[in-house]
Symmetry: C2
Subunit: 367 residues, 2 copies
Amino acid sequence: MQPGRRHSPAESVALFGYSLTPMILRMLKTRANIKDVASRAGVHPSTVSRVLNPATRSMVSESLAREIVRIADELGYRRNALASGLRTRRTFTVGVIIPDLTNPVFPPIVRGVEHTLDGEGYIAILADSGSKRRSEKALIENMTARQVDGLILAAANRKDPLVDQVIEQGIPLVLVNRTVDKHNVTAVINDDELGIDLAVGHLVGLGHRQIAYIGGPQRTSTGYARYRAFLKTAKKAGIKLDRDLIINAREFTETAGQAAFHELIKTGKHFTAVLSANDLLALGCYDALEELGLRCPEDISVTGFNDMPYVDRFAPPLTTLHIPHDELGVQAATLLLERIENPDTPTKQLRLEPRLIVRGSTAVPSA
Amino acid sequence: MQPGRRHSPAESVALFGYSLTPMILRMLKTRANIKDVASRAGVHPSTVSRVLNPATRSMVSESLAREIVRIADELGYRRNALASGLRTRRTFTVGVIIPDLTNPVFPPIVRGVEHTLDGEGYIAILADSGSKRRSEKALIENMTARQVDGLILAAANRKDPLVDQVIEQGIPLVLVNRTVDKHNVTAVINDDELGIDLAVGHLVGLGHRQIAYIGGPQRTSTGYARYRAFLKTAKKAGIKLDRDLIINAREFTETAGQAAFHELIKTGKHFTAVLSANDLLALGCYDALEELGLRCPEDISVTGFNDMPYVDRFAPPLTTLHIPHDELGVQAATLLLERIENPDTPTKQLRLEPRLIVRGSTAVPSA
């Protein structure tokens, strides 16, 4: 066969499953090719490839790497990450799916993920599964069609067929913030039980005995674990639980918290504090308190969970559990890179400990 | 040539610039191929391709599209977006670069971008150029290596060689929030002059005459336009400007705002209000006021710009200019899709009008 001879479309389809048009040939054969760079540098093309891929550059001596980059620049050779993905089965792309980008707790987690990936030559494709218009399933399919090397999901449910599917497909996966009930996937989460224990201890220490609880959706591990922890630690602390004063909201949102607080008031039962399963629910309590002409903390103390950015500035500043946002992201990305390198890495669960931050939304109960 | 015959590596390199190994052949020739689906459906493969690509599905009748999707599912055929990108030169991927994901003004803009792209079958690769470790240049190179169909930049400088470079490379580009001095690129920005005019009008209306200004970096269009607008509208309002009370900070951050406020105090000059060029700078003023034992608005009124989420909850709630975050994102994505479809679309600048939101951080000056 003569170099440069084109296949007929039929031949191409037989070989590759699709037609190799002249356009593709032009695309694949960019200005200078890797062999031109290699021959000028007096090295094997694979060395050039290693140098031009941020993830493998460290395998080549620094001075040689610099020289190769110089020659590649001079010849106008540019790595085509797409063709590269087809060659190496690596796209150096990780999909990150979060449930709600506008929940301020997620941007710092995403930032931790991004910076860790970036240090290894990977890039994140970020998507928000929050809106009703886009299902998480479609997003995951879109990402796997783009051959992501791995996925980080912050939006998992406790029973999650999508997680099962990703695992079955053999795509490296790490869950962050939320996990599944089955212990078959690596996850970086918070120690929810410790967090709730600290919050209950704080309220009891201030003298609260009638403590209401606004929880999150029980389909999520955070919603479920925090609810279970509340039942357990309240009992341990010797406070009598009133089932009417325990409401699990359907969403971790401000609106849901607001509605739940109004429900608590409607029971007509006495309570002096509300322990909320996240900061947005606590903000909803603030809204309801204002609507009802009640003051926080004078009439009702309120606690949150997450210490999302800026809650220290709220009126009143929110007493909450600080979770290490950046570290959640860093650890999730690190564990994912480990799985990408070595898919046989045993799954593990990393639990980071929250810290209680006492601010102005809690005080001794009014007489 | 026999169907199925492999090229020698030398032939492949001559043709494609790299060696076609058996692995690539396996990758490209997945289980069922597009021809299998087409023949079962009795249509041309290009019809199957159109149906399986969300961006072109509407070109095929709904009932036929449904039938083709059913057959593809049955045969286990899945579009390989990567190979698809090589075929069509479209990856249905858009790069979005923002200067700081943890600045709460950006998530709602990104959400607007994402949801608009999603509706058209595109996905966003999001990256944060904020940290010193990653330069915007490297991010753009990474994204263009991944053959993004277009870029949305929220981090442009007024003079920006990177923007010039992207334009030269012919990559569809839309700037959002910030623009460049040259009018050679499509941008969706805020009407900064109107915003500052509204803020000055509000403070003057309250009786303020000694108004200090904390601006942003002059390398950004927002920093520069807001500064110029302040000089102009203050003059128009008949208030005497004191150059010592005008400070342009190097970054749009809380820390920079805090430092600038301390500088204002150090001048020993009298002022009753600070107009800040964004909300983070205003927050920095809050910090400095607290450190100095001063009260807002009793001692000093403060205004911001952006109305980022939650500033209505701050102590005190911030008087600021509301910008339509979601709409900025929606418009940027819409204009980018337009450019991708038709690269010859004339460049345009879309200016959205901010609205003044008066809250608790401004009051009549103390006697």
